[in-house]
C-alpha cells in the first residue's frame, strides 16, 4: 500500500498552483511541437533545458514529462489532417487517419486518437506507478557488470531496430560514442580527442548536440530538399466526435495498443516506431473488415495511437528505475535529471521519492488536461499549421542557437552546435538514424565507467563481465537481437503494404 500512499502525496504536491501551471504549460508546448512537423518532443525538451537553472526540479520535470505525453497527442492531429506525421510515433496514424479525413471522417479519427491516447496513457501510467518501484527494488542488486550488459543490449536493439539498415544504426551509435569520448577522461584526467582545444577538455555538452542534431540538422535538410513542398491541410467538418459504432470498433484496439506499447517501451526497442507498426499489423489481422484497411479503417488509428502513448509511459520505467533511456526523448529527460545532480536509477525512489511520485501523479493530471486540450480545441491547433514555413524554420533555428549559447554563455558550444548540425544533415541525407547517436553520446561515458568499475572489482578478470546469471541472459538477448531482426522485417512489410 505504500506506493499508493506515496502516490496520493504525489497528487497533493502536483496539484499546487505552480506545478499545475508548469504541467499545463508542458501539455500545451507538447501538443504544439507534436502538431508542428519537424519538431519533436526530444528537441522541445532539449531547447528548454536552460530553464533547469532557475526552476525547481519538480516543476521542470513535470513540464518535460507533459511535453513528452503532449507530443504523442499532437502528432496524431498532423498525421490525420496533413498526412505528414508530426513525430515518428504517428507515422502509422497517417496511413489510415488521413484516408479517414479524406472521406470526411476527420472528426472521428481525431476523437479515437485522442480518447485512445487518454485511455492508454492512464492505464500505462498506473502500471508505471505500481511496477517501477518494484523494478527499482530488484535493480538494487544489479551489479556493474550487469549494467554493462544492459547498456550493450540497449545499444544493440536501438541500433538494429531503427531505420532501414542495421549497419547504419551501428555507425550512428559509434559516432555518438566518439562524441562521448571527447574531453578529459573521468578517471585518469587524460584529454581525449581535444586537439589542444581548452574548451573541449570539459567535454562536449550534450544539450547543444541534441538541440542541433534535431533542429539544425532538420532545417538544413529541409532547406536542401523540400522547400518547394507546401502543406495541404484537409479541412475538418463538424466536431471531433465518435459514433456508437466507432466506439464499438475502437475500444479493443485501444486496449491491445496499450498492451503492445507499454512493454515495448520498457525494453529498449528504440522508441515508439516499433510498437505502432506492430499494433497496426495486429489490428489489420484481427479486423472483421480487413478490406477497409488502406481506405480509412478506424482500428488502424485507434490501436497505434494508444500504442504510442502507452509506449511513452513504458519508456519512463527503465529511465526512472535503471537510469537507462530507451528513446531519444527519454535520453533528454535523463540529461535534465543530471543537471539537477539527480541520477535516475535503483536508488531514485529512496533518495528522491517525493519528486518521483509528484512526477507520476502529474502524468495522470497531464493526461486529463491533454484530452481537454485536444478534443474541443483541435481546430485551434490546426490554425498553427498556417504559420508560414520560412518563419517556422527561422524560429526553430534561432531557438536552437539560443539554446546552444545560453547554457554556458560560450561560443565554443555554438561552434559545436553548427558542426553537429551539419552531421545531422548528413545523417538524414544518407539514411542514418539519429537516436543511436544520442544514446551513444549519453550512455557511452556511463558504459565506460561501469565497465571499469566491474573490472576493478574483479581485479582485471574479464570473466566477471558474464559471470552473473542476469548478464548471461542479457547477452543471449543481445545475440538474438543481432541476428534475428524479425521486427524490422515486419515493419518493412507493413511499409510496403501501405504503399502498395
Amino acid at each position: 500500500m505504500s506506493s499508493f500512499n506515496s502516490l496520493i502525496d504525489g497528487f497533493a504536491s502536483a496539484l499546487t498552483l505552480s506545478n499545475l501551471g508548469f504541467g499545463l504549460l508542458g501539455t500545451f508546448l507538447g501538443t504544439l511541437v507534436g502538431v508542428l512537423p519537424g519538431i519533436g518532443p526530444a528537441l522541445a525538451i532539449a531547447l528548454l533545458l536552460p530553464i533547469t537553472y532557475t526552476v525547481s526540479p519538480a516543476s521542470a520535470l513535470i513540464m518535460f514529462a507533459a511535453i513528452y505525453y503532449g507530443a504523442m497527442y499532437g502528432g496524431s492531429t498532423t498525421s490525420i489532417l496533413l498526412n505528414t506525421p508530426g513525430e515518428s510515433g504517428s507515422v502509422i496514424t497517417a496511413l489510415e487517419g488521413n484516408k479517414m479525413a479524406r472521406r470526411g471522417r476527420a472528426g472521428a479519427a481525431l476523437a479515437t486518437a485522442a480518447i485512445g491516447s487518454f485511455v492508454a496513457g492512464t492505464i500505462a501510467t498506473a502500471i508505471l506507478a505500481f511496477t517501477a518501484p518494484s523494478i527499482a527494488d530488484m535493480a538494487i542488486k544489479v551489479g556493474a557488470a550487469d549494467y554493462v550488459a544492459l547498456m550493450l543490449v540497449a545499444f544493440t536493439t536501438v541500433s538494429s531496430l531503427l531505420g532501414a539498415s542495421q549497419i547504419r544504426g551501428f555507425i550512428a551509435l559509434a559516432v555518438g560514442l566518439v562524441l562521448g569520448l571527447i574531453g578529459a577522461d573521468l578517471q585518469s584526467g587524460l584529454s581525449r580527442l581535444t586537439f589542444g582545444n581548452q574548451a573541449a577538455v570539459e567535454g562536449i555538452e550534450t544539450v547543444p548536440v541534441i538541440v542541433s542534431i534535431f533542429a539544425l540538422g532538420e532545417a538544413l535538410y529541409i532547406a536542401s530538399r523540400f522547400k518547394e513542398l507546401g502543406w495541404n491541410i484537409i479541412p475538418m467538418k463538424g466536431k471531433a466526435l465518435m459514433t456508437r459504432d466507432d466506439w464499438k470498433r475502437s475500444w479493443k484496439p485501444w486496449l491491445r495498443g496499450t498492451a503492445l506499447g507499454f512493454p515495448l517501451g520498457v525494453i529498449p526497442a528504440g522508441g515508439s516506431e516499433v510498437p505502432t507498426f506492430l499494433s497496426y499489423s495486429v489490428e489489420k489481422k484481427l479486423s472483421k473488415n480487413p478490406e477497409e484497411f488502406g481506405h480509412g479503417a478506424i482500428e488502424g488509428v485507434a490501436g497505434p495511437e494508444a500504442a504510442n502513448n502507452a509506449n511513452a509511459a513504458g519508456a519512463l520505467v527503465p529511465l526512472l528505475a535503471l537510469g537507462l533511456p530507451t528513446s531519444a526523448t527519454a535520453a533528454v529527460i535523463l540529461v535534465a535529471f543530471q543537471t539537477y545532480q539527480i541520477q535516475p536509477g535503483p536508488t531514485l525512489f529512496l533518495t528522491n521519492g517525493a519528486l518521483i511520485w509528484t512526477l507520476i501523479a502529474s502524468l495522470f493530471i497531464g493526461n486529463a488536461l491533454l484530452l481537454i486540450l485536444n478534443l474541443p480545441l483541435v481546430k485551434l491547433w490546426v490554425q498553427l499549421l498556417k504559420i508560414p514555413r520560412p518563419y517556422l524554420f527561422a524560429g526553430i533555428v534561432t531557438f536552437a542557437m539560443l539554446g546552444a549559447y545560453a547554457l554556458n554563455a560560450s561560443t565554443f558550444d555554438v561552434q559545436v552546435a553548427i558542426a553537429i548540425g551539419i552531421v545531422g544533415f548528413l545523417f538524414r541525407r544518407f539514411g542514418m538514424p539519429i537516436t543511436p547517436l544520442i544514446l551513444g553520446l549519453i550512455l557511452g561515458p556511463n558504459l565506460e565507467l561501469q565497465f571499469r568499475r566491474a573490472l576493478q572489482i574483479s581485479a582485471g578478470d574479464y570473466g566477471t563481465l558474464w559471470a552473473s546469471p542476469l548478464s548471461k541472459v542479457l547477452y543471449a538477448v543481445l545475440i538474438l537481437a543481432l541476428f534475428t531482426p524479425v521486427i524490422t522485417k515486419v515493419m518493412k512489410k507493413v511499409r510496403k503494404d501501405a504503399h502498395a
Binding site: Y53, T54, A174, R225, G395, F399, Q415, G431
Partner: protein, 150 residues
C-alpha cells in the same frame, strides 16, 4: 552519375571520420577509444561493401526506390551562413542583432518573398524572446551594443 558522386561522398566521409579515433590508439586510457575506433573502421568497411553492391543510402522521408532529387545547395548554404553569422555576432553585437540576422537569413533561404515584413517580424520576435529570457527566466544573454539601452 548522381549515385556515383553520392558513393564517393559517403566513402570519403567515412574515411574522414575513421581517422579521428585511429589517431587515439596510442593514447591511454585507450581501451574504449580503441574498441570504438575498431568498431567504426569495421562498420565503415562493411558499409562501403554494401554500397558497392548497390545498397545506396535512402534519404530520410523517402522510401527505398524513390528517385533521389538533387540537393539544393544554394538554400543549404544560405542557412549555414545564417548560422555562422550568429556565431560571429553573438558576443560582438549582442543577442538581439545576432539572432535577428539569423532569423532573417533563414526566412530568405526558405524563399520568403516579403523581406521587409520578415525582417520586422523577426526583430520584434527576437526582442520579445530576449526580454522573456533575461527578465522572466533569468537566463542571461549578451546585450552587446545595446548594453546601455537594455
Amino acid at each position: 552519375m548522381g549515385s556515383l558522386f553520392l558513393l564517393g561522398l559517403i566513402v570519403f566521409w567515412d574515411t574522414a571520420r575513421t581517422e579521428l579515433p585511429a589517431f587515439n590508439l596510442t593514447v591511454s586510457p585507450k581501451v574504449f577509444p580503441y574498441a570504438i575506433a575498431m568498431g567504426l573502421m569495421v562498420l565503415s568497411a562493411i558499409l562501403a561493401i554494401q554500397i558497392l553492391r548497390g545498397d545506396v543510402a535512402t534519404p530520410e522521408g523517402l522510401e527505398s526506390g524513390d528517385p533521389i532529387v538533387k540537393s539544393d545547395y544554394k538554400t543549404f548554404a544560405l542557412v549555414l551562413v545564417s548560422l555562422l553569422a550568429f556565431l560571429l555576432l553573438i558576443e560582438r553585437a549582442g543577442f538581439v542583432i545576432a539572432a535577428s540576422v539569423t532569423f532573417f537569413g533563414v526566412t530568405v533561404a526558405f524563399d520568403n518573398k516579403k523581406h521587409l515584413r520578415a525582417a520586422l517580424f523577426g526583430t520584434l520576435f527576437i526582442t520579445f524572446i530576449y526580454f522573456s529570457f533575461t527578465r522572466f527566466l533569468n537566463v542571461p544573454l549578451p546585450a552587446g551594443i545595446f548594453k546601455d539601452l537594455l
